[in-house]
């Protein structure tokens, strides 16, 4: 796991591009240094995506043959987007689930990977963020966060509040990062899982 010094070095704009970690807006370097943090705190963004329960019978969680991970998938999904301005809040009711997004845009270099965890102070109120979501090397974009209220009272969540943290690891870089690809998004994304040929064969009649 990267130490606070290693994180600060990676955040330096002068570091070689292949090892540069970009977080926009940049986290408070002094705070990372002072608390010798081995993670970077991330804030909640302003876009949310909730499911349209009244119009959805069910959603298949497996990709169909010929389907894929096209970005349009999310737009056609049975979800509704919400924009909450700074200073306002989103109320997450008990038992409900919403996709959020980090305010920060991350670009992870090919030599790092990481995982996201929620803040324990929020978890104690019942706000759960998908535990230990992995971030692959060369990821670029805002992180989609799966937020659920497993508590007993409605929770107000505010764009700009600290919502989660990422821990980073050094990884043997692959042959080619995808820093140049164009998959990054500023809104929460709902992707279909990738097509699984083995699963597909299991569904075929023998």
């Amino acid at each position: 796991m990267l130490s606070s010094n290693e994180i600060l070095t990676a955040l330096d704009a002068d570091v070689d591009a292949a090892e540069r970690l970009t977080v926009v807006p940049c986290p408070d370097r002094e705070a990372i240094r002072q608390r010798e943090a081995t993670s970077i705190d991330l804030r909640l963004g302003r876009w949310f995506r909730s499911f349209r329960q009244t119009q959805t019978r069910s959603v298949s969680l497996v990709a169909q043959a010929g389907g894929g991970l096209r970005d349009g998938t999310a737009e056609k999904s049975p979800t509704k987007q919400h924009f909450v301005p700074f200073g306002d809040h989103y109320v997450l009711h008990p038992g409900r689930f919403v996709l959020g997004v980090t305010l920060e845009w991350l670009q992870i270099p090919p030599c790092f990977s990481g995982y996201v965890t929620g803040k324990s102070s929020l978890g104690r109120h019942g706000l759960v963020i998908e535990t230990a979501a992995g971030i692959h090397p060369s990821f670029s974009g805002c992180l989609t966060l799966e937020l659920a209220n497993v508590g007993e009272v409605p929770l107000q969540i505010y764009p700009g509040m600290t919502i989660c943290q990422i821990f980073l690891h050094r990884t043997e870089p692959g042959r080619g990062g995808n820093l140049g690809d164009f998959s990054g998004r500023r809104k929460p994304i709902l992707k279909s899982p990738p097509f699984d040929p083995i699963f597909h064969k299991l569904r075929e009649p023998i």
Binding site: T22, F86, Q107, C142, G180, R185
Partner: protein, 413 residues
């Protein structure tokens, strides 16, 4: 009640219809109030309209049966007119909540109008089912503090046409600055000079309009009306050009290329207009690709008296343009509106080309100009397999705008 049929009189039924129409309108507002408003300004506009229609409902319900037919007719006509106008506005406010809009742009544009128009001005950004950017520049009787700006619905998420909102906001500046009043004496002189310098055109027009009992003063007024409208459009162009720099020209070209043959007397001809834009760009020291408006189609004047009047108005506009141009630039300088910095554009372009947003607090103009430069350098990104790159560019621009807002809010807190 009618003495013969037992039915209520026409007057009573007409009044009743007006009351029901106002009630239906208020019910519609109550439904809209439940919408997710991305910004408070839209909700406030709705509340203002509701307040006024509650007063109208009260006035209508208090009218006694003894009121005269004339008063009822007047109330009903006025109610119909107001309902007609504000139904359109309600639709506009409803569409402002649609998530296809680039909500992130509201903050910097609102700052622009508060800096230039009025500190307490409000902004509602929305879209229209009409392929033209448009505005209600603080000219709605119930919404004096509100600037309403909209783009065409299919383009409402398009960051690259945001500079055209600069033109629309310019209309509010034109009104608040009372530019028409200040330029009128000089323009009137210019019109008189032009009329005297073109006796053949003048006489042709007068020969025609004398049949309707008009004389040269009619011609002067007609020219003035056309010229003022044209100069307002040019003032707004200069406003957009100053604020957004080359991005204004790119957005203009995107929207209107290659010009239009149809001529409106309320606008300069399409080729004159790009000529004025290039003149403004040169005055501001902006770098413009020399072929940006190449092969631009001109819009020809219509034949006949209307075309002749437009011809004279065009000549007066030509004489007055630089005064209006300088007026727009001086107004924006006084308001401390910054122009794009070359360093800022370069820094943003560098970030965007690395696949990350700008994190240093660039202005909206710098972000959108950098976006245009990248898009144009990449050949326009219109092919099917270039769509991911095009989409990513928009995402990065909008994220850059949001990060600038974040930085500004944190710095000013």
């Amino acid at each position: 009640m009618s003495a013969t049929t037992g039915q209520a009189s026409a007057k009573v039924l007409r009044l009743s219809s007006a009351r029901r129409r106002v009630r239906a309108f208020l019910e519609q507002i109550e439904e809209l109030e439940a919408a997710d408003f991305p910004h408070e300004d839209g909700r406030e506009a709705l509340a203002k309209i509701k307040e006024q229609f509650l007063i109208r409902r009260e006035s209508l319900s208090r009218l006694p049966d003894t009121v005269t037919d004339d008063v009822v007719d007047q109330m009903c006509a006025n109610t119909s007119m107001t309902l007609s106008k504000f139904t359109e506005v309600l639709g506009f406010i409803l569409r402002s909540t649609n998530v296809r809009n680039a909500f992130e742009v509201h903050f910097p544009l609102k700052r622009l109008i508060q800096q230039t128009i009025a500190k307490d001005a409000k902004l509602v950004m929305s879209s229209e089912w009409n392929f033209v950017p448009f505005t209600w520049p603080m000219n709605l009787p119930l919404l004096e503090k509100f600037v309403l700006v909209g783009g065409p619905a299919p383009e409402s998420s398009n960051m690259l046409i945001v500079p055209l909102a600069g033109h629309e906001i310019g209309h509010s500046a034109w009104r608040c600055e009372e530019v028409a009043t200040s330029i009128q004496p000089g323009l009137t002189n210019a019109i008189n000079d032009v009329i005297n310098a073109h006796p053949q055109v003048r006489d042709r027009i007068l020969e025609d309009v004398r049949r309707s009992g008009h004389d040269v003063s009619w011609l002067q007024h007609a020219c003035l009306a056309f010229a003022i409208k044209q100069l307002e459009e040019l003032f707004c162009d200069m406003f957009g050009l100053y604020v957004f720099g080359p991005a204004y020209l790119y957005a203009y070209e995107y929207f209107l290329a290659p010009g239009d043959k149809a001529r409106s007397s309320l606008y300069p001809s399409s080729r004159d207009r790009v000529g004025y834009l290039l003149n403004g760009a040169q005055a501001l020291g902006l770098e413009v690709e020399p072929d940006l408006f190449d092969r631009w189609i001109d819009s020809a004047n219509r034949p006949g008296t209307s075309g002749d009047v437009t011809l004279l108005a065009d000549k007066a506009v030509r004489q007055s343009f630089e005064v209006v141009r300088d007026h727009a630039f001086a107004f924006l300088r006084r308001a401390n509106v910054p122009m794009c910095s070359a360093e800022g554009i370069e820094r943003v372009a560098s970030a965007l080309s690395r696949g990350v947003p700008d994190g240093e607090g660039a202005t909206l103009a710098e972000i959108v100009t950098a976006g245009w430069r990248l898009l144009r350098n990449r050949g326009g990104l219109s092919l099917e397999d270039e769509q991911p790159e095009h989409l990513m560019l928009h995402e990065l621009m909008l994220k850059s705008v949001e990060v600038s807002e974040f930085r500004l809010r944190v710095a000013n807190a």
